[in-house]
């Protein structure tokens, strides 16, 4: 499986190398974790279909580039926009009927979406593994004696840019303020005229867009097939929980920590590739038990 190849870092490389590798892969988890956090902040639910939606977006990007011969730099923003629109539509059509339903109903609906998107990806594009072009040149560069690829820098850079944009959006724009208010104080927001339902849809749109970015960053590394994001999803959960499920900054920091930890585990614990997933699981359980708000999250735990 591509995942296994990806997740096992070369144990021969030095510690700095491992760190860089860990940070780069961590950025991937961070970007998907950001998408998860966006939905959680909007409606206190976890979108189990996040990874599959991202995979689907990535497949669309692949089609644009392979079949319609678009360049990456045109396909990329186009897919991001399409994913945004798709996310909004998805919320308004599929999620809206269960907006106020108990949590199990919402979980099951997102699980249903998981199945649908996974199935669609397989149906439309099949299960053959495809290569996905990377926007970054593959040439390695040397920074202070440590070999890094443009790929790694690119991954880290994209996550940081995403984080920065999201931060700006929520803290500096009127729309971002309205979204924050709508999710924290829906009734008070309605009383000042905010259409809370549409704010939710916006959250889904942003989340889908961020997920698409994540998918298009991962695909060059992992190769594109319908199971692309499943393991990434697990580590994105880990990252989001670790950093604090409501906190975008936490998601990024959590992602990097997870990436680095996994790289170190791979280096120093022999034959441990298979155990990375369960390592993620254990981290999730430990964090939820002892510090459910995450390392960076608020001290008080919000309504479950």
């Amino acid at each position: 499986m591509g995942t296994e190849v990806f997740l096992s870092a070369n144990p021969v490389e030095g510690l700095e190398q491992q760190l860089v590798f860990g940070i780069a892969t961590g950025s991937i988890y961070a970007s998907l974790a950001l998408a998860l956090v966006l939905i959680y902040r909007a409606m206190e639910a976890i979108n189990f279909a996040q990874g599959e939606m991202a995979t689907f977006s990535t497949f669309i990007a692949w089609t644009l580039m392979a079949t319609f011969h678009m360049s990456f730099w045109i396909a990329f923003p186009l897919v991001v926009v399409l994913s945004f629109v798709g996310g909004v539509a998805l919320e308004r059509v599929v999620i809206r009927p269960v907006e106020r339903a108990p949590i199990l109903t919402t979980i099951l609906v997102t699980l249903g979406l998981f199945s649908i998107f996974n199935g669609l990806s397989g149906l439309i594009w099949g299960y053959t593994i495809r290569t996905f072009p990377s926007p970054f040149p593959v040439t390695p560069i040397s920074l202070g004696g440590v070999g890094i690829g443009f790929q790694d820098l690119g991954l880290i850079g994209v996550s940081l840019v995403l984080l920065f944009l999201i931060y700006l959006f929520f803290s500096r724009t009127k729309l971002g303020l309205m979204m924050r208010a709508a999710s924290l104080y829906p009734q008070s927001s309605r009383l000042v005229g905010v259409r809370v339902g549409w704010m939710l849809a916006l959250g889904w749109g942003l989340s889908a867009a961020v997920g698409a970015v994540s998918g298009m960053m991962v695909a060059p590394v992992l190769s594109l097939d319908p199971s692309l994001m499943q393991s990434v999803l697990l580590f994105a959960f880990t990252a989001a929980v670790l950093g604090g499920i409501e906190n975008p900054l936490g998601a990024v920091i959590g992602g990097i920590v997870v990436g680095v930890l996994l790289a170190l585990v791979g280096t120093y614990i022999p034959h441990a590739e298979d155990l990375r997933l369960v390592f993620g699981f254990i981290v999730i359980v430990l964090v939820l038990l002892f510090r459910p708000a995450g390392l960076i999250g608020r001290a008080h735990v919000t309504r479950v």
Binding site: I46, P102, L111, S115, I116, L234, L277
Partner: protein
């Protein structure tokens, strides 16, 4: 405890259906459908377990596939490596799986709702890779093959029964026994404790219910059922591999239990039967991959019958009763675990 008036005609109906189930493979079903239904009974056992844990005790678990794997591998390893008779491995599979359930149940004590769902989801995703890792025991990616099941009465050898029919009846008998056991359990004080936890943990504690004990018990029982289901599955297939019981399986269990109707008696049966009637599910039984129709169906059911088919039927029945005798108080509300309709027993 109020018995619904559905139960009286229900008893006769149940017996009739049971008779049909017993007769079917002998007179109606071909070899392959018989095997399919053998899987259905095994799946039913797993869904009963989910129903107990989620429907009656209110703990959301998306990770029961891991317990099925424990059960399945127990059977496979004991049969293949230690040379046990596969029949003896079945109870052991259940017990070992329930140990796993306890181990998961203890940290789960502190988790609730979406957090519990996420943690158990992560368990289901990571389980196959752990199995793959301990390959001296589990055979790694290659999996383990076991010899096809021969019945102890020599019926298959003497061609009185086909192999599939034996598997069918074995699964059916186990399913019926376990179903009756679960009914008895849920009617007892244990079931009452579970329901009180589901409806309100704070109220349950105030009433002296030991949360730790009962929540862990619920996990253990649910895992026990899952382990048995996994064991039966492995016996039916005569093969197990790390991906045999992946996330898709957990989802199938939960979805089936929900569609049938959580917290109801016949829910798991409806869920398991429904599984057969939606053609896509057949794929799920055999290679556990989620699919489009499955997803659409699930979402539609969540919109229209969030309490599952049983819940929908009970709601209809309750509505009908209300029309017939206006002024009589509505049938008692259970907790709203899923969707709008009240879930009763």
């Amino acid at each position: 405890m109020r018995t619904t008036s559905l139960l009286k005609p229900g008893n006769a109906l149940s017996l009739f259906l049971l008779l049909v189930a017993v007769m079917a493979p002998l007179y109606v079903l071909g070899r392959f459908p018989t095997l399919e239904w053998a899987y259905v009974w095994a799946l039913l056992i797993g869904m009963i377990g989910v129903n107990i844990l989620t429907g009656y005790c209110g703990q959301i678990s998306l990770g029961n596939s891991a317990f099925m794997a424990i059960g399945g591998y127990t059977t496979a390893i004991l049969t293949y490596t230690a040379g046990w008779n596969y029949l003896l491995t079945i109870p052991v599979a259940g017990v070992l799986a329930s140990v796993g359930g306890v181990m998961v149940g203890i940290p789960a004590l502190k988790l609730r709702g979406i957090y519990l769902a996420t943690a158990t989801f992560a368990l289901a995703i990571s389980a196959p890779s752990v199995i793959r890792h301990f390959d001296q025991l589990s055979g790694g990616s290659q999996g383990i093959s076991i010899p096809p099941a021969e019945d102890p009465f020599g019926l298959v050898r003497s061609q009185s029964l086909t192999g599939e029919q034996w598997l069918y009846y074995m699964a059916l008998v186990l399913a019926v026994v376990l179903f009756l056991f679960s009914r008895a359990l849920l009617k007892s004080h244990v079931g009452r404790a579970f329901r009180s936890i589901r409806d309100s943990e704070t109220a349950a504690v105030a009433n002296g219910v030991n949360l730790t004990f009962y929540k862990t018990l619920a996990f253990a029982i649910s895992a026990f059922y899952a382990g048995l289901a996994g064991s039966l599955y492995t016996i039916n297939t005569a093969y197990i591999s790390p991906d045999s019981f992946d996330v898709g399986f957990s989802l199938a269990l939960v979805v089936g239990a929900v569609i049938g109707g959580l917290g109801t008696g016949i829910g798991p049966i409806l869920g398991a039967v429904f599984t057969v009637w939606s053609p896509r599910y057949t794929q799920i039984l055999f290679n556990a991959k989620p699919d489009i129709a499955f997803g659409v169906l699930l979402i539609l059911v969540m919109y229209t019958m969030p309490s599952g088919i049983a819940g929908g039927v009970y709601s209809l029945w309750a509505w009908y009763q209300r029309q017939r005798a206006a002024g009589r108080p509505k049938s008692g509300d259970g907790t709203i675990l899923v969707g709008k309709a009240a879930s009763t027993r």
